[in-house]
Symmetry: C3
């Protein structure tokens, strides 16, 4: 494995092997596996789980890491090509990225969507511009439309909570004060489809997932024997669900239009997952979320603090999932 950028780069079997490796590293630690290896972590956007779990994961495998956060002790990085750099950014990614890559054995990059032009973000313009400059093993720490580490951790969580392969998996839009990127909804729907599940995307009008994302999910579903359906009808969606995966995202109909997005979400305050969302689900229906979550805006306390929630298990699973990725990228063949 040379890069871990998109779960779609791997077959269902390959993903299952990664999950199995994550489980193995949990039960049979290899504290010297990556001795002497250095991981660079570049965060163009904030982080808590990714920041902590990758550092912890490298340490648990015997390696080290360093963190670079432009604008926080480091120069701001320019990403546009051909520009005359006379503004705030002192360094261009065309220097910054290859330099950082030259100091480490693997590089992780987080670069969120710019949130202005949907086509630009769907094309992963910003992340790909940086990825092209890296000649070392590369990890996507969340890009405009992807979050493969989260998806891998979620797959492991589904396995551990005995969610059947063919179960009904509802990815539901939930309320949030402002627009958030499409990375997790896109990665989550694809992951569930690739696992072979009955995927339902539940979202209000104006928040449909873009065609490009839906096509990719549909292809994964087809390959794995699953299905994909999109609806704004909550009752229909939740009926018989085994998983509700709550996630906030911005309007796709009004992408990049902050005012229009705000207007749309004004009437959607009841898209907050409460206990009554589970009235017609499967009895043991689980609540998932990638975190961070705004309590009582996206999900009510009663659900997050109740027995259905596996959000902490998901977050914990970032650690072994990422250790498996690091192991595959950096472990010298014996």
């Amino acid at each position: 494995m040379q890069r871990f950028i998109d779960l779609a780069d791997f077959s269902r079997d390959e993903v299952q092997a990664l999950v199995a490796l994550a489980q193995r590293l949990e039960t049979s630690p290899e504290p010297q596996a990556l001795a002497g290896k250095v991981l660079g972590l570049l965060f163009m956007n904030p982080s808590l789980r990714t920041l902590a779990s990758f550092q912890a994961g490298m340490a648990k495998l015997g390696g080290s890491s360093f963190v670079i956060t432009p604008g926080q002790g480091t120069w701001q990085l320019e990403t546009r090509r051909g520009v005359v750099m006379n503004g705030a950014a002192a360094e261009h990614i065309r220097e910054g990225i290859p330099v950082l890559a030259s100091y480490c054995d693997a590089l992780g990059i987080r670069a969120f969507a710019e949130g202005t032009d949907l086509a630009t973000d769907l094309a992963e313009t910003r992340f790909n511009e940086m990825a092209k400059l890296v000649d070392k093993p590369l990890i996507n720490l969340e890009s405009a439309m992807n979050h493969p580490c989260q998806a891998l951790a979620d797959w492991k969580t589904l396995d551990e909570t005995s969610v059947p392969r063919k179960a009904k998996f509802v990815l539901s839009w939930v309320s949030h004060p402002k627009a958030l990127p499409l990375a997790v909804p896109a990665a989550t729907a694809h992951m569930a489809a690739l696992r072979g599940m009955e995927v339902v995307v539940l979202r209000p009008d104006g928040f449909a997932l873009p065609d490009a994302i839906m096509q990719k999910v549909r292809a994964a579903a087809a390959s794995a024997g699953g299905s994909l359906h999109e609806t704004a009808d909550r009752a229909e969606a939740l009926d018989g669900a085994t998983v509700i995966y709550a996630k906030e995202w911005g309007s796709t109909a009004k992408y990049g239009d902050e005012d229009a997005d705000k207007e749309l979400r004004r009437g959607l305050k009841d898209w907050c997952v409460r206990n009554d969302w589970f009235e017609r689900t499967a009895t043991d229906c689980r609540l998932m979320h990638c975190l961070p979550v705004r309590r009582n805006s996206a999900i009510a306390d009663e659900v997050l603090d109740g027995p259905r929630s596996v959000v902490l298990r998901q977050a914990y699973n970032r650690l072994p999932a990422e250790m498996a990725v690091l192991y595959r990228l950096l472990r010298k063949p014996a």
Copy 2:
């Protein structure tokens, strides 16, 4: 040992054993003692000594650490319960804390006093709210009313500078541009009392230590054969003192009232430790302070740069003291 939150959780003998362990780790390093262990450090407030010494201490014992500073590359954390999260904080401690704990073998948390309601801060509401969410070994990196790592380092410093157990220990309020928390005065007075010293709290009117703190200190003094006295009379307090421990803190009579506090401290500029404070002390009287210190506001250059000051020794002792704590929390029994 499962937690290091308050020196009062330990007997005098147990504290002495910790100090002895700190000394042993200085003279007989154990560079592999915590190999493979990961320490998480969560700073809700700024730090220099704690930030550097805990990272260095883990490294010197063969372990690793990661640092999380909400608002600096990480989301801000909400601490209030039941709130609808539609403000600046993107994550609640009810998720953030257990997630961080799940990535490490021990977690350290710094959470200063909120400084608005005295009863709330005396109850350690903010720190305890977080501590309840941690199921791993936990270290108090300074809470509203406590700083046990500083207290342990100070105890070691007193031993090393041959300050007799029964000597007169004067904790003196000193001048500072604005109100500071009560954590260090509370922890220091308790530490000196538990060591069996003659503790005098010297402070101007309006800055008396709260009853709850004084009662705790008195109990420690009683258990260790020491004493506690509080006064606003500097001459009386300093007479025969073996240690002057200078510290800044906010008005307790006007707790949380910034203007009233400012008004009170306006006339107190002479509460700056100068050489003449030592005229009637013991000949070898020492000057202590936990740092950071504002020179020529709290303590004059002539004292900080003179032979009485042991402030650098105190700060250095944070390292071995914390290594002893980490060792006790994380070292597997052989």
Copy 3:
């Protein structure tokens, strides 16, 4: 070796031995050489290469490091002596620096020029004030007038790209939106002179390097059989050059006068290295720069992305060069 503060503290042979050690550590890694050692890194100013490469370098030698960035999770540090500290800075370097030094086996400090008074900066007042407080091996991570880690990496780069010892080395001023410090031009000219090169400083009127710097460079040239010449005539300077080392710096004639500096540089936009700068150079003339560089302001894309540029090699060489420095400072004699 006790300190690495200025390349001028070492003879030509000693520098060559350091470069050789850097090369040896690249080809024959010693992943346990600094096991148990801790490097402290104090950044009073932003960094990317230094921040990442020192952490990576310590890790590759088996050691650890911690980073302190005043104002970013750490108190601001006061540097002035004798001042009454009633402003923003909560801690003085007279405490902060020795405390940090006491936690580590070696300390690196970055402290840029203050940029107001030339004599103060030439005297390295700010850095020296801190250096005096350090009783451990000390590394200059860039001071007002020096950047020895960059100079050492550049020397190695010159060797690797087979630039002859006696070749013509043109340090050229280039355009930048605002004044930058003299650290790199001073260190670079000195390094090239100590290597024995024909050094030409090319700069517009108002940007002549200060006498103190020129005298130091001249002395190095004399000792190594090289030469030093300064000119504002670009055609003359570039004629036959084997290296163009581009660098931005502030006006020395109007040092610290922001408006006058801005006025001076207004007419100097054509001081941007383009392909036509190489028309009369040696055929294989190289382009060097320490980074970060503002593209199309200081150097055009066509040059940075062309075959003459060795800027990424220079940046990479920071890693082995710094590993050699760390090895010399911290490696216990066998």
